[in-house]
């Protein structure tokens, strides 16, 4: 299906679904607005910043991510099991979906375009160090790299390491500095 025929198809589906009373266009607008405005990497950044400051929360987050974020009441069309993996001095984690584009929407919003590209999906598994280098992340030779393959059932998010220089900063400032890419694992902070 070409770009043009897919555009036509999208309109055809919407008109049929509305005609049959299966959806309302206003609801579709609301969903777009929700992903546009309210869901995004900011949710994930709040979770990460809190984990850095609150060790009990961090433990809960690492033990059971789904349960730990439940209290936030994040909106997300499909909130699956969330597994949070922690970067340390010895381990660097990176997330991919080799099958399609599974992604932890509730905490990170919609995936960036490159996350859905076949090049990223296949290469990050085979040669994670080279791919990370292309993102500007050069890992030490003795750093272990773990690649996590998301699925319809399990979504992964990386808990990045907090730069030492940030530790004295207020949580609110820190939240603004935590990037989406650091929570996918292709970037290191600081």
């Amino acid at each position: 299906m070409s770009h043009e025929s897919a555009r036509i198809r999208a309109e055809a589906l919407e008109s049929l679904l509305v005609e049959k009373g299966l959806i309302e266009s206003e609801f579709v607008d609301d969903v777009i607005a929700r992903y546009n405005d309210r869901v995004g990497p900011l949710n994930g950044a709040r979770v990460v910043a809190r984990a850095w400051r609150d060790s009990a929360f961090k433990q809960r987050l690492l033990n059971d991510g789904t349960d730990a974020i439940a209290e936030y009441d994040f909106e997300g069309g499909e909130v699956q099991k969330l597994v949070v993996v922690e970067n340390t001095d010895a381990v660097h984690n990176v997330v991919v979906c080799t099958l399609c584009s599974c992604y932890p929407w509730a905490v990170l919003g919609l995936p960036p375009k490159w996350y859905k590209d076949p090049a990223y999906r296949s290469r990050v598994v085979r040669e994670p160090r080279s791919v990370l280098k292309e993102f500007g992340t050069e890992l030490e030779a003795d750093m272990e790299v773990r690649v996590w393959d998301s699925s319809a059932e399990v979504r992964y998010m990386v808990l990045p390491s907090e730069p030492v220089a940030w530790r004295e900063l207020p949580e609110k400032t820190v939240v603004e500095r935590i990037t989406r890419d650091s929570m996918i694992g292709v970037e290191r902070l600081g």
Partner: protein
């Protein structure tokens, strides 16, 4: 990106300075799938399964391809197929509606 009109109601969502949808229809087809799942017309996992199948077929047909990955085209294809499979729409009426939409005068599209 260059053809996208960045204005009004159809402004594509952005995150960290990146365009999530490159054209309005991509946002709408995505949001339709979410809406149908949230309203219980289809299970998200069923849609997901179809998407995996359709994406897998594309990967097989395009080994070592430099071609841009048509994610939302495949998304639209997957949504069409799952709706037919669930008996919510039939493929004949989809093709008929395609024809009607394609025949509309230029400028009517969003």
């Amino acid at each position: 990106m260059s053809e996208v009109e960045l204005s009004g109601r159809y402004e594509p969502p952005m995150a960290n300075g990146e365009v999530l949808f490159e054209a309005p229809w991509q946002g709408r087809v995505f949001a339709m799938a979410v809406t149908l799942a949230e309203q219980g017309c289809m299970a998200w996992s069923d849609f997901q399964g179809m998407l995996i199948e359709v994406v897998g077929a594309w990967d097989t047909d395009h080994p070592h391809s430099d071609e841009e990955y048509p994610y939302y085209e495949l998304f639209a294809e997957s949504l069409s197929r799952i709706l037919v499979q669930k008996g919510l729409l039939d493929s004949e009426e989809i093709h008929k509606a395609d024809g009607l939409m394609a025949a509309r005068p230029h400028g009517h599209d969003h």
